[in-house]
Amino acid sequence: MLRADDLVFAYPGQGEPYRFTLEAMPGTVTAISGASGSGKSTLLDLLAGFIRPTSGSLSLDGVGLLSLPPETRPVSLLLQADNLFEHLSAAENAALGLPRGTPKADGKARVATALAEVGLSGFEDRIASNLSGGQKQRVALARTLLRDRPVLLLDEPFSALDDETRKTTRELVGDLTRRHGWHTVLVSHHADDIAALAEAHYRIVDGRLERA
């Protein structure tokens, strides 16, 4: 279980600090909602390690995470946009998720498998800038598969997608989460995304997380 216990953080000049307490179970999606500026992205930055809390604890299955820098945390990240490097192909982008030192042939096969799992077989050589919004998110998900980290943080990942693509990408995220046992934390202000995907739902009110 991913557990954040009273993580306290305040930006310089901010009055009352954020205080976040949260639990996310494996194989489930935990949704976070709240008004603009309520601290949703701050919570994700704390979980990913981009900012450090002044106090509190964060653990995965009882192992503390706060001492780990972002690159070694057991966390993958999927943002609303800018998830890919536009000049690289789909396969090259996905391959960035492979562990260092993976043999080339093995890496190629694993990338092909991951792309197939997200429904992008045959797109290996397509340059990222030529992919649609939904395809880009799928490539980022393929990279997440290859990284094989147990926590997936999603920051409004479906916001830039049209309704149909949004629905299929959402289903893919739910399916991958269940099959791989990820602890998925989804930040969204779209009620339909939350309703369709989340097993648990927190709302940020006055800098604190409340069960919705």
Partner: protein
């Protein structure tokens, strides 16, 4: 925030290099100051006059160039025609066009025996006083180069105006004057102080143009006076006084300029709606553009015509020409490669540094070379190698490469820094979260994205070095000369056909490098990915 990937090796290497560059500045200044205290005897240098003259021509150049730049950018932004990209590219090349070549081209048009006087003589039976010499000549040459440079920078600002803003203006039916006042001017205004400071600095430290067109002591500037004091009058005390004055003034200008908004090196181009001005306004735009294009291109075309039609074969037969060409190319390539290595290490280190103070400290020594003009840096190195007991002839090739590289470094940093910062700004979180190694980050992400910028930087450094006269002027000998020095010597010994041929070849090499290198490097950088 911890969004930047941790790159201690990059920061450490950049810090070490910064210290070396800073130590070199200190050593050069020490050599100059030491010579100043050790030099005996009175100097004949009239510092007040030189300062007045240098500031006057630089100030006038700045005002006129900005005026020309605004007008040409406005015209180019509005007009669409076949060959527009070529004209824009022509103005972009102004920054690397050797001043000597432009000065020579102007002489062949505006000089005593230039086209205009020949035409006046045959048509009306009299000739004019040549405006190509003295203050007017200096100003014309500077405005040709710096006006074109300003136009290119300001055009980028106009081309980056948001489409939505233009659509609103068009739907409101704004006239040409209102459009300029409400849309164009606000877009350009922010860049003018910084751009003006750069142009002032370029004119203040201009060497070959003043040397060729100054026409005597009355119009000498500090830079030329330093060269004269060292090379012709052997007045070391005077040269040192002038050098220190030059550094002090340039430092003040840079400090003032740093308070202004930086001039962007690259802006994204917005899709501009088809919004044409009224017919009379377009006529004015065409007039401005035709005059500016002729003003910039004619001297250069004339250099090509006279050079290629005149003494080309005679020059090609000279062994000294081929030696000078080889020297120029080797020095240009070496200093470009050194500039790339220095700029990459510094820019990668800076982009990996989150703290503002750290970024500033990693940039200051490199940017400080903006305050040290070529002739002054050359003088410093000249005195330094003398103090170390190294014969200047033996040190010359290394010193010329290092000096040219250091002089290009601020431009190289300004070219490579912003795109590197932009990559990390937009993808820093992602790179860090993926745990990419520094090498992976560079080879997979930064290098391919920087391909064109690296090419542009190499082209700038190569062209600056190729056209340099300020550094080589003090270190050059009969056996060690570059094309600009050979051209200057040919002019000095009245072999104008030789000078014309060398100028033409210098221009061809420069344009070829400026156009070809960015494309070549971009292809190499992207080749495995296509």
């Amino acid at each position: 925030m911890l969004t930047l990937p941790r790159r201690p090796l990059r920061i450490a290497t950049a810090t070490g290099l910064t210290l070396i560059i800073a130590a070199l500045i200190v050593a050069v200044l020490w050599a100059i100051l030491d010579a100043a205290t050790g030099a005996s005897g009175g100097s004949r240098v009239d510092l007040a006059h030189l300062l007045r003259m240098t500031a006057l021509q630089a100030g006038l150049t700045m005002v006129l160039s900005l005026g020309v730049g605004v007008a040409v950018a406005w015209a180019l932004n509005r007009l669409r025609f076949f060959g527009r990209d070529l004209v824009v590219g022509l103005f972009a090349a102004a920054i690397v066009t050797p001043g000597m070549v432009v000065a020579f081209g102007l002489l062949s048009i505006w000089g005593r025996n230039g086209w205009i006087n020949q035409a006046a003589q045959s048509l009306f039976g009299f000739s004019f006083d040549s405006p190509a010499y003295g203050l007017s000549g200096i100003l014309i040459a500077h405005v040709v180069l710096d006006g074109a440079f300003a136009a290119r920078i300001l055009l980028a600002r106009l081309d980056a105006i948001a489409q939505s803003r233009l659509k609103v203006g068009q739907s409101l039916g704004l006239g040409a004057v209102q459009r300029f006042r409400l849309i164009d001017w606000p877009a350009m205004r922010g860049s003018l102080p910084g751009l003006g400071a750069i142009i002032f600095l370029l004119a203040f430290t201009s060497f070959p143009i003043v040397l060729l067109l100054g026409g005597g002591p009355a119009n000498q500037t500090l830079e030329v006076a330093i060269y004269t004091a060292v090379r012709l009058d052997f007045d070391l005390a005077g040269a040192v006084r002038l050098a220190l004055t030059q550094i002090a003034v340039c430092s003040v200008v840079i400090l003032i300029a740093s308070a202004f908004t930086p001039v962007p090196s690259a802006l994204s181009r917005s899709a501009q709606p088809n919004w044409r001005d009224a017919r009379p306004v377009r006529a004015v735009q065409w007039l401005v553009l035709v005059l500016a294009t002729l003003g910039f291109a004619l001297p250069l075309l004339n250099v090509l015509y006279e050079g290629l039609a005149g003494g080309l074969f005679r020059v090609l037969e000279q062994a000294s020409f081929w030696r000078a060409t080889a020297t120029s190319v080797i020095i240009g390539a070496s200093s470009a490669a050194l500039t790339l290595a220095l700029a990459l290490v510094l820019a990668l280190g800076r982009s990996a540094t989150a703290q503002r103070v750290g970024r500033t400290l990693l940039g200051v020594p490199a940017y400080a070379y903006l305050a040290v003009p070529a002739v002054v840096l050359s003088l410093g190195f000249f005195l330094l190698v003398r103090a170390l007991g190294v014969p200047s002839g033996a040190a010359a090739p290394v010193v010329v490469v290092i000096a040219n590289s250091l002089l290009s470094l601020p431009f190289a940093m300004a070219t490579l820094g912003p795109p590197l910062d932009a990559v990390l700004r937009s993808r820093g979180k992602l790179i860090r979260s993926l745990g990419l190694s520094g090498w992976q980050q560079f080879t997979a992400i930064e290098y391919p994205l920087l391909g064109r910028d690296i090419g542009l930087m190499l082209a700038l450094a190569f062209c600056f070095s190729l056209g340099d006269l300020g550094v080589i002027a003090l270190f050059g000998t009969q056996d060690f000369q570059t094309l600009p020095l050979m051209m200057y010597r040919a002019l000095g010994s009245y072999r104008s056909n030789d000078a014309a041929a060398i100028a033409a070849l210098l221009l061809i090499f420069t344009i070829a490098a400026f156009v070809g290198l960015p494309r070549l490097i971009e292809r190499i950088a992207h080749a495995p990915r296509r």
